[in-house]
């Protein structure tokens, strides 16, 4: 009982602090940066505390206001949630530091801080929620905050991308909501745990699974529902792109995984799971080829997100690969989130130094003169490819190990081939920096930003030694059906 109230406390503060920060920053935009800084440090500490709580006491399900589901809403603080909260906190902390040097102080951009904190609060609420309808509300919060962030720069491309994103996001939300309606019609409860107990395979369940999966896949930008992503992530301001690519698409993926681990566990037939994994592999190759043919930096990095999201969907075939098969894909979330946030930050530095132009050929000149950013770009790129001494290598290793253990070697072949494709576009991005010719440091970029970018790259390296701990944390997730 003691432990339960502790779990509730950590979970509650993880909701309260970013929300309170968002409210304050909204009321008082001028102080936004300091509010955001304080909030991000606090939330990071809280996420650590929550993870430690799960680590020592195991997963906890707590009900809000003392109303036990089905009457009330439950929060789930388990390994999966704690891991995602930690990833969000880590990326959030670095994006926050980066934004201190990115967002101008003149009042023009100060609205960024409130929107960023709103997004963070929404993501934390999403990761902790244990109720399908509550998840819908958090999804809407995420969509609105992300739309505003994409549109922040106010340019034509950004507004158009924001509109597209909003439309896809709302469509996905509606499909998800219809799934919620079907679930409630079928079972009369909304709590994930209770729905998991009732399970079942009827038409309503299958249709709910389809609608919710498709809706969430659109939000996670899984090929072929990805078309909104590259323009949105390519035209947003750099810190917003970093957040969107590193965290927002992962939020949708997280719900999808959560649903298949609980509510739809009886429907997790091999055929369905292979289909999801196969779509993921298609995404890996399509995104890879598009990245390879991109001639500008930010679209290249954005298409790479399309590809990397594909790997995450290997979680589904791996669900059936035995206990904890899906852990590999969740660990990959951390690898991709850190690497991608770092890449977008580095891209932001280079683009700004180059006067807003991010064509690969001209960015290379700036890369030659900016070793800090280029080094960060190299390390993050190596992590994306899965080269050693980065967290990406460890993630790729686990992914391959799971694929081989599960006896489905073709996923291993896919992972290896996808890695080669990633290598091709990452080295295509880095190659021009080695061409001869003068370097040009271009317009000034705050040293703080270059430093934070490099620091996040070093985190990509350090996390490479956190594989055991990460997997142990993820494993603290109670799963009754396949994958448990």
């Amino acid at each position: 009982m003691e432990g339960m109230s502790d779990g509730l406390t950590w979970a509650a503060w993880l909701l309260i602090v970013p929300l309170a920060g968002a409210l304050l920053a909204g009321v008082w935009p001028r102080a936004g940066r300091w509010i955001a800084l304080a909030t991000s440090v606090l939330v990071a500490l809280l996420a650590l505390g929550a993870a430690a709580q799960v680590w020592t006491q195991g997963p906890q399900v707590v009900s809000l206001g003392g109303w036990v589901p089905p009457l009330g809403i439950g929060l789930r603080l388990d390994g999966l949630a704690a891991f995602m909260l930690l990833v969000a906190a880590l990326v959030g902390l670095f994006v926050g530091g980066y934004s201190l040097g990115y967002i101008p102080r003149d009042g023009h951009g100060e609205r960024f801080w409130a929107l960023w904190l709103w997004l963070w609060a929404a993501l934390n609420a999403l990761f902790l929620s244990g109720d399908v309808f509550n998840l819908y509300v958090t999804l809407e919060l995420v969509v609105l905050a992300s739309t505003a962030l994409v549109a922040l720069s106010g340019g034509a491309a950004a507004l158009l991308a924001a509109m597209r994103y909003l439309m896809v996001g709302l469509l996905g939300s509606m499909a998800y909501l219809m799934g919620v309606a079907l679930l409630y019609t079928q079972h009369g409860v909304l709590d994930l745990g209770l729905l998991a107990q009732r399970g079942g395979e009827g038409t309503a369940m299958m249709l709910a699974a389809t609608l919710m999966s498709v809706g969430l896949m659109a939000k996670a930008a899984l090929f072929p529902l990805h078309v909104w992503l590259p323009p949105a992530h390519g035209s947003a301001p750099a810190p917003a792109s970093a957040l969107l690519s590193a965290l927002v698409v992962k939020g949708a993926f997280y719900i999808l995984l959560r649903l298949w681990l609980t509510v739809f566990q009886d429907l997790a037939h091999p055929g369905v799971m292979q289909l999801l994994g196969g779509m993921g592999m298609l995404a890996v190759f399509w995104g890879g080829f598009m990245s390879l043919s991109a001639d500008r930096l930010k679209p290249l990095v954005a298409y790479s997100t399309v590809a990397q999201v594909g790997y995450l969907f290997l979680a589904f075939p791996f669900l059936l690969a035995g206990p904890g098969g899906w852990h590999a894909a969740v660990f990959l979330v951390a690898a991709h989130a850190t690497a991608k946030a770092c890449l977008f930050m580095a891209a932001g530095n280079l683009q700004e130094a180059n006067g807003g132009d991010d064509r690969l050929a001209s960015v290379a000149e700036v890369m030659r003169a900016r070793p800090l950013t280029s080094f960060a770009l190299g390390i993050a790129g190596a992590s994306l490819v899965g080269l050693p001494f980065t967290v990406g290598f460890v993630a790729k290793w686990i992914l391959l190990q799971t694929a081989i253990t599960s006896g489905a070697a073709f996923w291993a072949v896919g992972v290896v081939a996808g890695g080669l494709l990633t290598g091709a576009y990452v080295f295509r991005l880095l190659g021009p920096a080695f061409r001869p010719g003068p370097g040009r440091s271009g317009r000034p970029v705050p040293v703080l930003r270059e430093g934070v970018t490099l620091a996040l790259a070093l985190v990509c390296v350090l996390l490479g030694f956190a594989g055991s701990a990460g997997l142990r944390l993820i494993a603290a997730t109670p799963v009754a059906g396949p994958g448990g």
Binding site: A382, P388, F389, A412, V416, G419, G431, F434, P436, G467
Partner: protein, 512 residues
């Protein structure tokens, strides 16, 4: 056996890693600091390696350091006699090459970047040497890919970009194959430290097919860097890199990393008995023989000096594989000792080629006529190393071929000696003509761009000194082959054979 402080191993890695990373952020004009960092790191590394050598040889220590990467999978650094063989080769040649590179690149742009990646390469090579298990070796092997690619591109010409692309395609592919194989092996057998005679025999008849497939994948993965036959063509192209890179990396570090990996796989993962039982040694031997002959023939028909040396490398590195695949201790001794011998002789040749190119603008073998009068010291070094490659007694190359021949007899495959003879004839056919016209011919045309004329020395002292040092080293390794710390002595120590065994019948000058 007593496990000693693994911090020594970490320190050895850091002696090149720390200067490497620091140098990246130095400004171009901070010449003195950069040189100091480089030289201090290189000297320090040699000192540490010597300390380890003494510890392993005299006291019988084992050094081990490990960090957990994933449940059941550790990053292990360990120093055994075999790893020290490779590590001392890399450490010594890094020191020499650093001096050479400082002289070679004097006044050229972007030296910070060059020396940064150069040091990272050496760190990766030494990491491969000290890898205590396959996972660790894979990690450093990929790191080596990553660190050498910028060096191949360094000149920035379209040609070097083409070479870089091909190099990357080959090595990334090899790395991926290796990754898949190592993961598969770990799933099958767990992640285990290298042990003499391997750790897979318990799996044999049951997982026979998987083990054979894994062997193929592992050899393919390491074979890319070792330039085994169908996977070799990146190597001659990569010669567009600056001479020190070609010398250290493409004659020593990269190709030897591949060969060393093959040695580890055969000896310490599978073990000779299992490998023989599985019947995989015979195909490996054929592959090695094919590569030896093919490389020699291509070298014979290459007119570009560095290209000729590159094909010679393709051929010579396979001697190591051949020695291993003979599946007996004497053959393996021949192979391992060649790891060192070939490295020292080949780096001498590359330094000489670099000196010719830098001083006189000589790139093709036909342009070497009369070079002996202008650059006698360099040509003398070239001659020594070339004769060594051919296997003329008492040079180092002879020791190799002698032991390979003994190994062939020992395993009852005496006909392999014929291959050695043919290869030696081919070696002679492509090394002797340039040496002869160098000493006795005349320049066909005035040299392209002659520098250092009227200097007291025939070329810059930082180019000449390292060249002479490695040439003397190559000579000494042959003459003093039976000394305890000579490569042969050390290899005998690895196999627990008395130093000099088998050679006393012939090499009267070399034996005690």
């Amino acid at each position: 056996m007593e496990a000693q402080g693994g911090y020594m191993l970490v320190a050895i890695l850091l002696t090149s890693l720390a200067p490497g990373v620091t140098i990246f952020f130095l400004r171009e004009e901070q010449f003195a600091l950069r040189t100091f960092l480089n030289m201090a790191g290189a000297v320090f590394k040699v000192v540490l390696v010597v300390a380890l050598l003494v510890g392993v040889y005299r006291e019988g220590y084992t050094y081990r350091f490990s960090v957990t990467l994933l449940p059941g999978i550790d990053l292990v650094l360990a120093a055994d006699a075999l790893s020290l063989l490779f590590a001392s080769l890399s450490a010594t040649l890094w020191l020499v090459t650093t001096v050479y590179a400082i002289g070679y690149l004097e006044g050229s742009p972007r030296r910070s970047r060059f020396f940064g990646f150069f040091s990272l390469c050496v760190s990766a090579t030494v990491g491969i040497a000290f890898s205590g298990n396959l996972v660790t070796m894979l990690i450093f092997y990929e790191m080596l890919t990553l660190a050498t690619w910028p060096l191949v591109l360094h000149r920035g010409t379209p040609e070097s970009f083409r070479a870089g692309r091909i190099y990357l395609a080959y090595t990334l592919f090899g790395g991926s194959v290796l990754l898949a194989a190592v993961v598969w092996l770990t799933v099958l057998a767990g992640s285990r430290d290298f042990t003499a005679d391997g750790y897979l025999s318990a799996l044999y008849p049951e997982h026979g097919t998987a083990l054979t497939a894994l062997f193929v994948l592992l050899i393919a993965g390491f074979g890319v860097k070792a330039a085994l036959l169908p996977l070799h063509s990146w190597l001659p192209r990569a010669m567009v890199a600056p001479a020190p890179v070609s010398a250290l990396l493409h004659a020593v570090a990269v190709v030897k990393a591949g060969a060393f990996g093959i040695v580890r796989v055969v000896h310490d993962v599978y073990g000779i008995p299992l490998a023989v039982e599985m019947g995989v040694m015979r195909p490996l031997m054929w592959l090695a023989i094919a590569t030896i002959v093919y490389g020699s023939v291509r070298a014979l028909f290459s007119q570009d000096l560095k290209r000729r040396l590159a094909f010679s490398t393709v051929s010579q590195v396979s001697y190591i594989v051949l020695g291993v695949s003979l599946a007996g201790p004497l053959g393996a001794m021949g192979g391992l000792v060649h790891l060192v011998h070939q490295g020292v002789m080949k780096i001498t040749l590359f330094f000489c080629a670099g000196n010719f190119a830098e001083t006189l603008g000589i790139h093709r073998t036909g342009e070497m006529g009369g070079v002996g009068r202008r650059m006698p010291w360099t040509l003398a070094a070239f001659t020594l190393a070339g004769l060594g490659m051919i296997g003329v007694p008492p040079m180092a190359g002879f020791i190799t071929k002698w032991y390979l021949g003994l190994g062939a007899l020992e395993s009852g495959q005496g006909w392999v000696i014929a291959v050695l003879v043919i290869s030696s004839l081919l070696n002679a056919a492509y090394f002797l003509p340039p040496i002869l016209i160098g000493w006795f011919g005349c320049p066909a045309a005035p040299w392209d761009r002659e520098r250092f004329r009227g200097h007291r020395l025939e070329t810059h002292w930082m180019l000449l000194l390292p060249t002479l040092m490695v040439a003397l080293l190559a000579l000494g390794m042959g003459l003093l082959a039976s000394a305890p710390y000579s490569p042969l002595g050390w290899v005998s120590f690895i196999f627990g054979v008395a130093p000099g065994h088998g050679s006393e019948g012939f090499a009267g000058g070399a034996g005690p």
